[in-house]
């Protein structure tokens, strides 16, 4: 049984990490990161069967790929707080010589990351490849990926969605962050995608909703249900309904904070809405990083 109090505390801490990372360099993507905080906390603490030490090949463990790489602040925070690298390294986000690039990369060797992402639309394809390799290796673990709803506008997704169903890739769970927002406005205004659920179903996927993607208990039980659906011949799609900017009142229900950092006062306000749980991140940068004045 999950210790929900501890996990809720972690959710708040991750929100603080996101806000501080983005504020420090005055760049990055807080909106989508905040919206997916509960998902990441649930995934790394309650869902993934993973090893504590990181191996690129991910053999005999579940694998997660982040397709919408711009929500790196939440990914980095949860990876650090899952023990993959020191929490203090979050201080180097987007700085010169950092392993925490604006968008995730394997290039800098940051534990926890197995593919670069940022140019959208490639994560489902990569996940299918990794899932097929698991089948060839007779490894019964699962492959998870998260992509944004706006990201589904990239055509490559539909090539991949067609392939996965057509070839019974049933050890794959694709979660779509359904927040209805993208940089230029709501997804309905920028490029309406119609009924995403019907589209996945028409392609032959087993689709389910997590109606409140910002409720930790709902996310955990929903993802467990998704896990039970694997192995039935169909790939699984989870539509995770979230609120962009969740947990900070002035960032919620708008695309304004998709890719914008809070100023000093806004940070203070946002942090006050998410009081300290696990302690603030260390101000000491990793020794391998030089920070110029």
């Amino acid at each position: 049984m999950a210790d929900y109090k501890a996990l809720e505390d972690l959710v708040i801490q991750v929100r603080r990490d996101i806000l501080r990372q983005v504020h420090k360099v005055n760049s990055g993507h807080p909106g989508g990161s905040l919206g997916c905080t509960e998902f990441f906390v649930a995934l790394y603490n309650e869902i993934l069967e993973r090893k504590d030490s990181f191996a690129m090949d991910g053999k005999d463990e579940d694998i997660f790929f982040l397709s919408n790489g711009h929500i790196s602040p939440v990914f980095y925070s949860v990876l650090a707080r899952s023990g993959y690298f020191p929490v203090s390294e979050l201080n180097t986000f987007r700085l010169l010589n950092s392993r925490l690039q604006g968008h995730p990369t394997t290039h800098e060797g940051l534990p926890g990351i197995r593919i670069a992402s940022g140019s959208l639309g490639q994560g489902i394809s990569v996940s299918i490849g990794a899932a097929l390799t698991k089948k060839l290796n007779k490894d019964n673990h699962l492959v998870y990926t998260l992509c944004g709803d706006g990201e589904l506008q990239e055509g490559q997704n539909w090539e991949a969605i067609m392939y996965a169903a057509g070839n019974g890739v049933d050890n794959l769970i694709v979660t779509v962050d359904l927040n209805g927002q993208q940089i230029d406005g709501s997804t309905d205004n920028v490029l309406p995608m119609g009924n995403i659920k019907a589209k996945f179903e028409a392609f032959g996927w087993d689709v389910m909703d997590i109606e409140n993607g910002n409720d930790l208990k709902a996310v955990i039980s929903g993802m467990k249900k998704a896990k039970e659906k694997t192995g039935s011949g169909k790939p699984i799609c989870v539509l995770l309904h979230t609120v962009m900017g969740n947990g900070v009142d002035f960032m919620m229900h708008t695309h304004d904070w998709h890719g914008k950092a809070p100023d000093d006062q806004q940070l203070e306000n946002a942090l006050s809405q998410n009081p300290v749980t696990l302690g603030i991140i260390s101000p000491t940068p990793s020794p391998s990083i030089r920070i110029y004045p």
């Binding site: 690129m56 090949d57 991910g58 053999k59 694998i63 790929f65 990369t105 394997t106 290039h107 197995r114 593919i115 670069a116 992402s117 940022g118 140019s119 639309g121 490639q122 994560g123 489902i124 394809s125 990569v126 996940s127 299918i128 490849g129 990794a130 899932a131 097929l132 390799t133 698991k134 060839l136 290796n137 490894d139 055509g155 490559q156 090539e159 991949a160 067609m162 392939y163």
Partner: protein, 317 residues
């Protein structure tokens, strides 16, 4: 002068197919992906012998590259196969992010490169692929000259850890390199020694370079002929050694003169040992329909064009 014998015309893509078949037997980690061109890429035997390791992705090249990148996670060695145009330009961003930047062990195998797709015309030909691939950090770029070398290269790249672009053609061409050759990535092959001019060729133009050298020999010009099967990393040492001896160079390739082998050689010489150079390549143009022979003739990619270029470059020494 050393004579090279054409042991019977064969297509380079069959060298790829046969190499892949051999690999399938000896390396269980090798998997193959194809975008609806199994026959064109000569991947049928691999598919027949190892159906569980062959992945038909359909006409969906972007997904194919992404899947290949994902398959490396867990230890597979994916070989993707489609035409050179759809192997590079169409999926450049997928290769850049998911393969090269991510450092994935994917072998992008491309047939029908250059002009020799012939009658299909410019939409199916590509003269920019070497440039596109060599500009990607960490990408190895190989362009083989005949059946035997393509087969040897296909087998060799499976043992090399890292992304590779392997480029070959469609038509049957002279097969003249040894069957039992030791293919070393990044190592130039000195085919003919000579003191007057260095001819550096790649792909289908290597045989033409040898023909040109014979013609030149009859006129008393001794050409050194080097087969550059690996365009990146370039064998700087072999090229500099030869050009320091001969004092001038002609490069020959079935590719645009922008971004190709000639430009790589020019970069090397301009920084290390400036020398007159002539470039046999297409002149910033798209291709068109025609037979392969007609196209190679029209775009000046043959032995007689190489001979003319040698005469020009020697005069500039």
């Amino acid at each position: 002068m050393k004579k090279y014998t054409d042991t019977g015309k064969k297509d380079t893509r069959s060298g790829f197919g046969d190499g892949l078949t051999e690999l399938g037997k000896k390396n269980e980690d090798v998997v193959a992906l194809c975008a609806d061109l199994t026959g064109s890429l000569k991947m049928d035997d691999f598919k027949k012998n190892h159906p569980e390791r062959f992945f038909q992705v359909g006409i969906a090249e972007a997904n194919m590259i992404g899947m290949a990148a994902g398959m490396t996670i867990g230890g597979k060695i994916p070989f993707t196969g489609t035409f050179a145009n759809f192997s590079t330009g169409r999926v450049y961003d997928q290769i850049r992010q998911s393969v090269a930047y991510s450092g994935k062990n994917v072998k992008i195998c491309a047939s029908h490169a250059g002009l020799t797709l012939g009658e299909d015309g410019a939409t199916h030909q590509i003269l920019e692929d070497i440039g596109l691939m060599k500009m990607l950090p960490g990408m190895t770029v190989i362009n083989t000259c005949d059946y035997n070398q393509t087969k040897a290269a296909t087998i060799a790249i499976a043992d090399y850890e890292g992304p590779v672009y392997l480029r070959f053609g469609r038509p049957k061409v002279a097969n003249f390199t040894p069957e039992d050759q030791n293919f070393q990535i990044g190592k130039a092959v000195l085919l003919q020694e000579g003191a007057d001019v260095t001819i550096i060729a790649t792909g289908h133009l290597v045989w033409e370079a040898l023909q040109a050298a014979e013609t030149l020999f009859e006129k008393g010009i001794h050409a050194e002929v080097i087969n550059i099967h690996t365009i990146k990393p370039l064998d700087d040492e072999a090229i500099l050694k030869s050009v320091k001896k001969t004092g001038c160079v002609v490069t020959a390739e079935e590719h645009n003169f922008l971004g190709g082998l000639g430009e790589s050689v020019a970069r090397l010489l301009s920084t290390q040992h400036p020398a007159p150079q002539e470039l046999i390549a297409t002149q910033d143009t798209f291709g068109e329909s025609g037979t392969p022979e007609q196209l190679m003739d029209k775009y000046g990619l043959n032995a007689s064009a190489i001979v003319n270029a040698v005469n020009k470059v020697i005069a500039r020494k």
